[in-house]
């Protein structure tokens, strides 16, 4: 970063006597704009396409397949459509807050990218409180959503906004508590530090380190889904109840912003879990070449994250929505006590085996494989059960 700024000043694009701070600020803004416009937003768009395709296959449909190869450019077409649409601000709405709300939601989506550990050296800022920062800024969504719900001056939006606030604030607690076991085991809050404490092999991941971390991982994943307003916790925008929830009155670009943030948040959910429990970018040392190593790590990280993104889409295609009181009781009666117990359990575990227990990793990993095998068996059972496919229409 510093060398880049020094180089820019010496190259003379900004004039000979440009102040260092100004050049640094401009560089940061341009770079982050490039990252967000070039990585984050297209990613959110592509996720929307992938989600629609995955969802369609689950539902025996085809999904968008007309724009571009296999409909891949659908997200671009949708984006252009939304940008071209009229931006309506209702008469009775509070115009300032109404216009501001989508940006706050997007802000909560772009800020976590600053500490995203893509590889051993590809990270914008390796803060020593990285994971804390991550949970703090993602919770900013609630401000935007509440603002949108309130300022729309619409009862459906209001209910959606309030639901969202209640939901996100409640689920912060189990999510935060589920991070503790990992922090206890590593003694650091830095994203890179947590990843370095794990190994590339699954039995060295924190997911399989001991039973407590596995439960913590599951709770964190579900809580993160709840914070990201994903099914089965999509109450704030529950279509069949609240029309479109807090986004009811929005149109065009602003509406798109909410959904871009939702889809983009999937990546952040995946990244948090990957970092904490799935070994992050850890890849076996196959070469001394730093660049090649970094590329391999980048691929590893993204594959893990995208798998989690896929799982969350799959969950969305499977489960119905919980009711608001059940959502709350799930959080306070189940997740919060369990994650507290979990934290205590991890503390005891760490006290007994300060350097971790090698065997528990193998045992847990084997248990995971057994569950996977049972799952595949069930899938094959359902495939066989209704294998007889019947098509009356020759056009299918």
């Amino acid at each position: 970063m510093q060398t880049l700024v020094q180089y820019l000043i010496s190259s003379g694009i900004f004039g000979r006597h440009a102040p260092y701070e100004l050049v640094a600020a401009i560089t940061v803004i341009v770079m982050s704009a490039a990252v967000f416009l070039g990585v984050a937003f297209p990613f959110a768009g592509m996720v929307s396409w992938v989600e629609r395709r995955v969802w369609a296959r689950i539902q025996s449909r085809v999904g968008p397949n007309r724009v571009g190869p296999n409909g891949f450019l659908q997200w671009l077409a949708d984006g252009v459509k939304h940008v071209c649409k009229e931006d309506i601000v209702p008469d009775e709405a509070d115009p300032t807050l109404f216009k501001l709300a989508p940006y706050l939601v997007v802000l909560a989506f772009v800020l976590p990218w600053a500490v995203m550990p893509f590889s051993s050296s590809l990270i914008l800022a390796d803060l020593n409180v990285g994971i804390l920062y991550m949970t703090a800024v993602t919770a900013l969504t609630v401000v935007g959503v509440l603002m949108a719900g309130w300022s729309s001056n619409d009862k459906w939006s209001l209910i959606g906004g309030i639901r969202s606030a209640a939901q996100i604030v409640s689920y912060e607690i189990p999510a935060g508590l589920s991070i503790f076991p990992v922090v206890l085991m590593t003694g650091t809050l830095s994203m890179q530090g947590i990843i370095r404490a794990q190994g590339w092999a699954p039995q060295h991941w924190f997911l399989f380190a001991n039973p407590f971390t596995m439960i913590a991982a599951i709770i964190l994943f579900i809580s993160a889904l709840a914070e990201g307003n994903r099914t089965p916790f999509d109450l704030p925008e529950a279509e069949s109840e609240l029309v479109a929830g807090f986004a009811t009155e929005y149109s065009g670009m602003r509406y798109l912003f909410f959904f871009m943030a939702e889809w983009g948040n999937l990546f952040i959910i995946g990244a948090i879990i990957t970092t904490l429990f799935l070994g992050g970018w850890q890849f076996p040392h196959v070469t001394r070449n730093v660049v090649v190593m970094n590329v391999l790590q980048l691929i590893t990280f993204n594959v893990k994250v995208l798998f989690l993104v896929f799982v969350s889409m799959w969950i969305r295609g499977t489960l119905p929505r919980v009711r608001i009181d059940q959502l709350m009781s799930l959080c306070w009666k189940y997740f919060v006590p369990i994650s507290f117990l979990d934290m205590v359990g991890t503390a005891i575990w760490v006290a007994i085996w300060p350097n971790g227990n090698e065997w528990s990793g193998y045992v847990m990993f084997a248990a995971g494989i057994v569950v996977g095998v049972i799952f595949v068996q069930r899938v094959i059972y359902y495939l066989r059960r209704s294998r007889m496919e019947l098509y009356f229409r020759p056009t299918i």
Partner: protein, 186 residues
């Protein structure tokens, strides 16, 4: 004690049922989708795949229309307007107007049922979108034409015979009161 039992039973139920549900949805990743990609990505025109009984847009074969007005009388919404004059001297019927308002038609099939020759029948065509209501009124008679007169024996005119055959084919689908058909034993 039961409270604690139900607490853990809830967790167990949730985990197992969600596991099963996920297995069902996972099995759909490898199944074929059930979508007709109408209109452009079908191996053949959808219209050609529809059964003969399909009640699409009405069509009239004027060559075999007897001018009996049975369809006009049967239509519950009067979307068929027909004018047929009988010459008192020669007893020949001249059809001077035969309009069907497709915009009004509800595709019930009550008009084609009483037709003695199958002249008025439903096609498998269903794409009827147009820019004005006027263009949806189908005017079959351009200039007054003589009505078809059923002959005693089989039809001899080589031009009309295939049309009549087709008409009777449509007619055969309808159940005859008290009559038994070849299909009735299947």
């Amino acid at each position: 004690m039961t409270a604690i039992g139900s607490y853990f039973r809830n967790i167990k139920d949730a985990v197992t049922t969600i596991f099963e549900g996920m297995a069902v949805t996972a099995s759909h990743f490898v199944r074929r989708p059930y979508t007709v990609q109408y209109p452009d990505r079908t191996p053949m025109r959808v219209q050609d795949t529809l059964p003969i009984r399909y009640r699409g847009i009405l069509e009239v074969d004027l060559e075999i229309c007897t001018g009996c007005l049975a369809c006009e009388r049967a239509c519950p919404i009067d979307c068929i307007v027909m004018v047929a004059e009988k010459d008192p001297a020669t007893r020949a019927i001249t059809i001077s107007q035969f309009d069907i308002d497709i915009a009004k038609c509800m595709f019930c099939g009550l008009c084609s049922e009483p037709c003695p020759t199958g002249s008025i029948h439903h096609t498998t065509e269903f794409e009827g979108a147009d820019f004005s209501l006027e263009s949806l009124i189908k005017r079959f008679v351009k200039e007054p034409i003589p009505a078809y007169k059923a002959k005693k024996g089989p039809e001899t005119d080589p031009r009309i015979a295939p049309i009549l055959d087709r008409g009777m084919h449509f007619l055969d689908e309808w159940a005859q009161p008290g009559g038994e058909k070849s299909g009735s034993t299947t």
